[in-house]
Amino acid sequence: MTEDLFREDQMSVQERLAAEALIVDVDGFEGPLDVLLTLSRTQKVDLRRISVLQLARQYLAFVDRAKALRIELAADYLVMAAWLAFLKSRLLLPPDPAEEGPSGEELAAHLAFQLERLQAMRDMAARLMARDRLGRDFFARGQSEDVTRVRRVTYSATLLELMQAYARIRTRDEFRPFVMDRDSVFTMEQALERMRPLIGFAGTWTDLTSYLPDGWETDPVRRRSATAATFAASLELVKEGHLEIRQAEMFAPIQLRRKDKH
């Protein structure tokens, strides 16, 4: 039944000619909406009074014509054709109350709105470009005055340069995040975490080495890292006022003691 309906509204001669005329410069169109807008002009009415049904027929004629002439149309043209065929059937058939989704009229109204909006934007673009323009119709001051001897240097950069700089860094080939072998590294954060609960008990001077974590005292590499981290953490705790630190002479053991708050 739907099939019959389609066959019924075969394109008129006029539509066929219109479609053929469009085909000539299909590359000149910016997508299906552009084609629809051009087709709508043949109706010679206000866009608000456009017959979307007729427009759908015209568009389908255009696509059929392209097929007949073996002209390859981009996918979005065919998507639009399929959708318009669907819209056409919705507009022609009596509404089915059981059917989900927007009615044919709603869809048609939205399409008309899109066409009207695009046309409006084109009109505005043309009005904009036709305005009196700086450097063509009216002019800025031509002469910069060298009035004072004071010259300040300012540096300038554009947003584009800024973004390009950032893009350049972020996509640089040779960029590799710096990664260290963490196995034998005891960090200062770890040392701090370890020492905080312990120092409360350091009422008397205690050797720094006694704070080294278990399993880090023997291997020289690990011991070095742990000692450095513990020492740095101690300094941090001294700075925070939780700890006192002393060393009797050069290379003598470093000793720590809790600092009591006054």
């Binding site: 904009l128 323009r133 450097g135």
Partner: protein, 219 residues
Amino acid sequence: MDEREEDITESLFEAPPMAEQERMVEAMLFASAEPVTIRDMEARMPHGCDAAEAVAHLRRRYEGRGVRVVRVGDAWAIRTAPDLGFLMQKETVEQRKLSRAAIETLAIIAYHQPCTRAEIEEIRGVSVSRGTIDQLLEMGWIRFGRRKMTPGRPVTFVVTPEFLDHFGLESARDLPGLKELRAAGLLESRPPPGAMPLGVGGEDEEEAGGEGQPELFDE
């Protein structure tokens, strides 16, 4: 320079008479090729001056003359009267040829700003080609606006003071036909009912937004 310092330190004295302020504003606007803001002018004028009023006087004074005092966004500039353009062939700068896509994109941004890329595509029915936005940015006619508060927080575009200056507009509100378009409802963003084939926007926006930023602007 001495006068200026004097005025700052001895601000007990009154600001110069309005006629004098008008001269100052006149000199500043004449000297600059770019529009100058009221704030900028006042920063350079003696203490207590009212640059806005001085500009208003100056503007009236130049009515009908060979140059005019025009407003460009928040700033003011002197420009030649458009009817005398024919004398200026020597000064005419080569206008860069814009593609139809670029012109339409510019108009859409101007009338719909702040406007996302997806909105431009939704209105034009095709994707915005690479380089179109780029070109408009480079010409200084559009810039990035505030991000949209919609999912994905897509970036937006707005027109610049340079755009206004170029097209002789006082503000974006003075765009030709703006009121009519608004009255006709053509500036509203109407979601398409159900599945429309031209909703290039819908999906794209999701994509552009959804993933766009989290790596950069971790929240």
